[in-house]
Structure formats: C-alpha cells, structure tokens
Assembly symmetry: C2
Homo-oligomer: 311 residues x 2
C-alpha cells in the first residue's frame, strides 16, 4: 500500500509543480485505501481458486486505477459540496482554489482512463466506465433530491450504489476478470463489492450522526443540514412524521437542525444498523465459491471491519 | 448535424431538470461542430476507398463522442479560465454556477467514456483516452507557463496539440479505423487531423488579435492579457525584444497591454499566418492516398475554410 501511495503521488506530481503540492495533499498519509486493498485481496483469493501463483501486473495497475478514480471523485466532490476539510485536513480547493481542484480531478480521471484503456481488456474497460457514469448520475440525482422527504429507501440505496458501491463492485469484479474465473464467480465478486460498498455507505451515514465533530473532521449531521437525506433520516421519518416539517422548511428556525439530529439519533439509528448488517451478510454470502485462503479470510474480515465502526 | 445536436441535447438533458437548462445552453444553436463534421467526412472518404456503401452506426456514435468530449472540455475550461462568455453567449458557470458547470462537464466526460467503451474497439478507446490525458496535460502546462517569454514555438505547438489538435487527429484516425483501412491510411488521417487542428489553433490565436471585441464575443488580446502566449506573440518577441518587459511585468502600467497588442499586431501576425498556412499544407498532403470523391473534396475544402478566416 505504501508503494502504491508513492506511485500515485509520483504520477500526479511528476507533471507540474502546480500539482505536486496537490498530490502530496491528495496522496499523503491517511485514507483507508479500501478499494486497492480489495482489488489485491480479490486478486489473491481468485488466483488461489484458479491455482495461479500470484497476482498479475494488470491487477496491480487496476488497484492504482481504482484509487485514482476514487480520489478524482473526492476532489471534485469537495468543490461541488464546498467542503473545507476532509479526514480532518483542508481540502485541495480550500488550499489551492477551485481551479487547481478541477484540474487535479480532471487529470486523475484522464490518467485513469488512459491506464484503463491500456489494460487491454474490454470487459474491464466497460465495467469501470460504467462506474464513472454512475458517479455523475449519483451527483446529479443527489443534487435534484435535496430536502426531499419522499425519498424512498430504494432511491437511497441507488444513490449509494452510484456514489460508493458501484466502484467497489466493479473493482472487485475486474480483479476477478484478470484471474480468468467463471462468469458465476465474477458475478459473486461484483455482489460482494456492491453489498460491502452499500454497508460501508450506510455505516458512514450513521457515523455522520453518532461521531463527534472531532472524530468526523466536520460538523455533526452535515449531510442532513445540507439536505442530503440518508438511511438514518429515512427510518426516523417513518417513526416520527414531525421530522418532515423541520427538513422541508430547511431548518429555518434556530434549533431546528439540532432537534432534527436528536430525532434521527433516537429513532433512525437502529434500523439503519440492521440495514448495514443485512448488506454485510449478503457480501459474506457472495464469498461462498472461494476456497479457504488467507485472502478469503481477509475478505470476510473486511465486512467485520466495515461494520465494527458502528458497534 | 441538426440530428446530432438534438441527440446530444437529449442525452445530457434527459437525466435531470438541473442539467436540462445547461444542455440547451451547451448544445443550443451556434458552434461549428467541426469535430463531428470531420468524423463524417473521413468516414465517407475512407468508406469510398474501401468500396463500402455508407458510414456505420459506430462512426455516427464516434461523431457524437467527439463533440461531447470537446464540449466537456469547454465547460470545464470556462470555469478554469473564469470565462464569462463564449460565442457571445453567457457560459454555464456564469449562468448556473461552478457547481453545475463541473457536474455537467464530468457528466459529459463520463457519458463519452461509456459510449466509447461500448464501441468495442480497443484501438479507438486508446486513441481517445490519450486525447483526454492530453487535455489535462495541456491545461497543466499552460497554467505553469503563464507570462513565460521563453516559451518556444515547439512548446507552443505541443500545447496546441494537447488542447486542440489531439482530439481532431484522434477523431479522424478513429473514423478511419472503423472503415478498416490500412495502417498507412490511418496514420495519414491522424496527420490530416493533427495539422488541420494546429492550423485551426494558430488561426484562432491570430483572430484573438485581429478581430473586434464584437466579433470575438470577448475583449481583444484576452489570451495575452491572461499570460497565455500564442504564436503571434512568440514571433513578435523575436522581432521586438522590448515586448518582453511588458509581458514579464504582467502589464503593470496603464497602456502596457494596449502597447503589447499593437506590437504583436505589427510584428507577429505575418509569421503566424505563414505558420498556419504551412500546417494547412501538411494537412492537404496527408489526403494523397484517398481517391477523389465528394467527401475528399470536402476535406480539402475544410483546410481552406479554416485558413480563409485570416485572409
């Protein structure tokens, strides 16, 4: 992972001093590197299944591509959401302005498209292209649904798929494609990534209500404040219809937001936790075709790692 | 072309009302549609060569993709350059804010990547991915070279290749790939597009000095004012070394910019016109393997069309 981090920092920083500082910020310490870790683990676990000795160079490059795409989307998201800090650090657009942030994001998307094309595998190119289209769809539908209390759980899950699970699912499946497994194993790896990704997003959305401002690196309940309705709020709306008025008036009176956060904390978290757990269980079930190996055990462990943050 | 314009407007507008207004703005009337026109013409001229009856659906889709990529880059450029008007109309980011502009650009890049992947041709995917990487390189090196009077003509041509000629060259070659021509004809079509694109950029850079504010839809000499040195300025710097001080002090005194524009107009235009003409001649020579046809005559005519704007 450290090698991957240094490679990525070098790729973006090499071109221009303007981006070098941004690269340090983007690929500096911190960040879970969830996507490249999953690519390596699925690559190892499926290599085991196919009696291959080790993961391939293309799988290593795939791991870099997934992290580049993820980072590009974060950099643009920070501009879109006018977000000042991420992981407790100031964001690129706060430090260097929207101009460098847009440029750095475009550069990362462009570079990842180029690496992707040069993996020479149409199936993988299509899988990852779909992800980038899903990102844009997710951002657009999120922008159009702010403060909309009629958002259904299915619509929330679709939004979460687009912005988080799609990349994780496509990364896991692509890693399996390069191990040349059967179609059925590829589908399972997609399902593993998708439901792990959904569990991850639900957990993140829960933590937005339960963690302190210090732990979050941003104010508590910021999603709700900006009108982005997530699982805990959707469940709380079912239990406490008076929450609707607070949200639909966009917290116009002082104390409205605080009151809404309290309602979500009291009435929305338990169901959201169950939802995360269900998604985690589907992810685990998708590993059934893989033989026992260290990598498989790590894939099982990833589900626990994602869920433990809310227990 | 009208069908293509309506298709593109529909593709971006369909997703969300937020983008519908933007789509009208982006794919409304105006614009030369140079890239899709060239795709159609190269497709027809090479189909003729291969005794094919008509252009294919994939070539039609390619034409859409090239215009989407071009438009995405314009939308992001307008944010990057903080450009208020384009073709005399207000830009997306002026009308709807940077948020919608970044989103619309990302969406267009994403959608074009997805269409591109689904053309199912690795050669074309690689060609067009290279373009998107070139865009980002071009933007970055341009940002790093502002007000740099040591910029060489070769560096200027490389910048122009990255931001303009690369897409036109790759579009022309890709259109030829789908007609299944020989490698040698593919190379010629790339060279045709590249040198036509360079001629086009040089002409654009000349017009920035010679056209009125009304014709340009923006103030005269805006490139120079923002430190983006182009062919006329590079030639004028050779003839009149005192121009350097005006530029390097970033036009600090009143009248400096006006004086610099006058010097460029007097000493830089003739050499720049010769350069555009030379590039146009290389483009024409690259058509030699194509049999006579209406499409080939139109490709010849395109060179004249690009150059006539400065004569």
């Amino acid at each position: 992972m450290e090698q991957l981090r240094l490679n990525l920092r070098d790729i973006i920083g090499r071109k221009n001093p303007l981006l070098l500082a941004a690269a340090d910020q983007i690929f500096g310490a911190g960040g879970k590197r969830l996507r490249p870790v999953l690519v390596f683990l699925v690559a190892r676990a499926t290599a085991e299944l196919m009696h291959m000795s080790d993961i391939t160079d293309r799988q290593r490059r795939l791991a870099e591509i997934t992290e580049m795409i993820h980072t590009a989307s974060l950099v643009h998201d920070d501009v879109l959401d006018d977000c000042d800090t991420r992981r407790g650090k100031e964001t690129i657009h706060t430090l260097y302005g929207a101009r460098v942030a847009i440029l750095a994001g475009d550069f990362l998307f462009a570079q990842s498209s180029w690496f992707l094309a040069n993996l020479d595998n149409l199936e993988v190119i299509k899988l990852i292209s779909q992800v980038i289209a899903d990102f844009a769809d997710g951002e657009i539908s999120q922008a159009g649904a702010l403060f909309n209390c009629d958002l259904t759980l299915d619509e929330y899950l679709e939004k979460s798929h687009n912005k988080t699970a799609s990349l994780i699912a496509a990364s896991c499946k692509s890693a399996a494609v390069f191990s040349e497994v059967t179609e059925s194993v590829k589908v399972d790896m997609y399902e593993y990534g998708k439901h792990l990704g959904l569990a991850f997003q639900v957990v993140d959305d829960i933590l937005d209500f339960t963690q302190s401002e210090e732990q979050l690196g941003k104010p508590q309940g910021q999603d709700l404040a900006s009108g982005n309705l997530t699982a805990p709020t959707i469940f709380a709306l079912r239990a406490k219809p008076e929450l609707r008025a607070l949200i639909e008036t966009q917290f116009e009176n002082e104390g409205d937001l605080q009151r809404a956060i309290e309602i979500v904390n009291e009435f929305g978290l338990e169901e959201a936790q169950k939802l995360a757990k269900r998604e985690g269980d589907i992810a685990l079930a998708s590993l059934r075709q893989l033989p026992d190996s260290e990598a498989k055990r790590s894939l099982v462990g990833m589900v626990g790692y994602v869920l433990e943050r809310i227990y």
